[in-house]
Symmetry: C2
Subunit: 325 residues, 2 copies
């Protein structure tokens, strides 16, 4: 194949905190990556420009030119209209309502762009890149700033009637529970995302509980998943309890999905899971077993993904490859 | 076709309260039905004998013999192992754990029997008998003594890895909420089934609230869906409030399913819905809209089934026809 031929695809994972781009020859084979912080406070236009820059950085990193890129897949953190690549609503991104992301990026980059929900894309990444398409059905749940998910049913990404399936983070688990970024109350995301975990630690501190993370929270206004892991490993009881509660909620959500969908596998990923898989997975599995209907867990595997942060870019690249071939 | 040819199928709906059997020539064309009360207190063996008798009654009602029946489909109220027709667990049926229903009925009736979860079967009945297979994806939710459901995805009944998908009634909506028949807490079924509605009315009476149904509850220990409807239409505030709350929970469950699956249609049926569709449907639709992610309800229809009690036997007959052809 000649140098000028568009034989590469780019996968982009657009998150509330950071943008990742990866150049792939034949996904999951990644040849180069780039990373930028999202800086969503600068506004929607700025974020789109940063996505563009991140793609160009990754392509440059791979010693390629945009002409060698056949297509770009983007995982976006919200409800997406796949046909025209509009982000309808992104609960963790300020001002993201009806944003024509595909059109803007195609104008800027001159390459076909395919936008899909980030949970769908990450599930596709795990399914193709980690499981080699083996299970017939799989739910991927990704716990980070928010909670995304994607469904593989009958060996295919299932995106539903209006392409919005997989919004597992907004499944209500606790009617009238804590307020969620989506406007509702008691969604899984409001109970078990990193955002929710940090909120609960803050509330614990306010209530007089002790944690070594008080200073870190004061400085950053936030906590990284790695901070949480370190605190637990140092014996921080508040953090341990809050992360345990979040894990229990994730297990209940997994049980709900097992009751409804009875998938062959539930795969958990995202920054929070990646940092604390050892602490969280046993609690998640036990909570799922406690809440699933007798019989419906039989043979169903609940595992942590090994792809980590690469699930999103891998899946986005798979999407781009499928759409351009 | 000769008289001796097995060109009929029988559909059975085995419920916690009653057993319905229908003889179908080409489902949804029903030629005769029969009905018996379940009398589950008499034990599992007795219930199976009553299913057998109900099938024989329906076949006799149609002036046919068992030789003209090619197969029998049965919808059972719990988790079912489809391959060997075992009822693994039926939360609303006392003592039903690992019951070889298919084997027992085949031995008794001498005709191939196919056992499937009642929600799956009813969803199939609505899909084929009422919607003529038009939508690509549909969730059927059936509110009665318990709450069953079935999923049609990609035009097919979706039953999952171990054939237990569709246990929507045991989706947890309210962590640590009221105790459910399955052993867990806060399941949809414990919040919105007829059983749950009656519990809440009893609690209201205990708490000093007034209702014209006090006497009826004392007599029957239970209430029929028709009793509830009549009470509301006579202006009974307690019953109105409890049914409204149940409808709100059903709407939240519908929103959860729309967030996760984004189906083209959500169809509601079962005795409770059938009796009070006018009262419940507007509340269910509003509650679903309030709790679904923005964008994910677009174009999604939430409607009441017109098949009523016939959904179960129709779907069971469709199943039998598909499995024997």
């Amino acid at each position: 194949m000649g140098n000028g031929k568009a034989e590469y695809v780019v996968g982009v994972d657009l998150g509330g905190t950071k943008i990742l781009a990866g150049v792939f020859k034949d996904p999951p084979l990644c040849v180069a990556t780039a990373k930028l912080s999202t800086k969503q406070s600068r506004g929607v236009k700025s974020v789109i420009e940063r996505v563009e820059r991140c793609v160009r950085d990754a392509v440059d990193e791979a010693d390629l030119s945009m002409k060698q890129v056949a297509g770009i897949g983007v995982g976006a953190p919200g409800a997406v209209k796949f046909e025209d690549g509009t982000v309808i609503f992104a609960p963790n991104m300020e001002g993201w309502r009806d944003i024509p992301l595909k059109a803007e990026l195609e104008k800027a980059l001159g390459v076909p762009v395919f936008v899909e929900n980030d949970g769908n894309v990450a599930a596709l990444g795990v399914y193709v890149g980690e499981l080699q398409g083996a299970p017939r059905s799989m739910v991927g749940m990704f716990v980070g700033t928010g909670i995304g998910a994607g469904l593989i049913l009958g060996g295919e990404l299932y995106s539903g009637f209006g392409h919005t399936a997989g919004e597992v983070g907004h499944m209500v688990l606790l009617v009238d529970g804590p307020r969620c970024g989506c406007g509702n109350k008691g969604c899984l995301e409001a109970l078990a995302s990193r955002t929710a975990i940090v909120q609960r630690i803050k509330a614990g501190i306010k209530g007089g509980e002790k944690t070594a993370l008080s200073g870190t929270i004061d400085e950053q206004g936030d906590l990284k998943s790695g901070d949480l892991r370190k605190a637990i490993r140092r014996g921080d009881k508040l953090v341990e309890r809050v992360v345990k509660e979040a894990s229990e909620y994730i297990g209940i959500a997994a049980a709900n999905l097992i009751n409804v969908l009875n998938p062959e596998m539930v795969v958990l990923g995202g920054g929070v899971l990646e940092a604390m898989a050892d602490e969280m997975m046993p609690v998640i599995v036990e909570s799922a077993r406690d809440h699933a209907m007798p019989g419906s867990m039989e043979g169903v595997q609940i595992v942590a993904s090994k792809l980590g942060d690469d699930a999103g870019i891998t899946g986005a690249a798979v999407l781009a490859q499928r759409e351009t071939r």
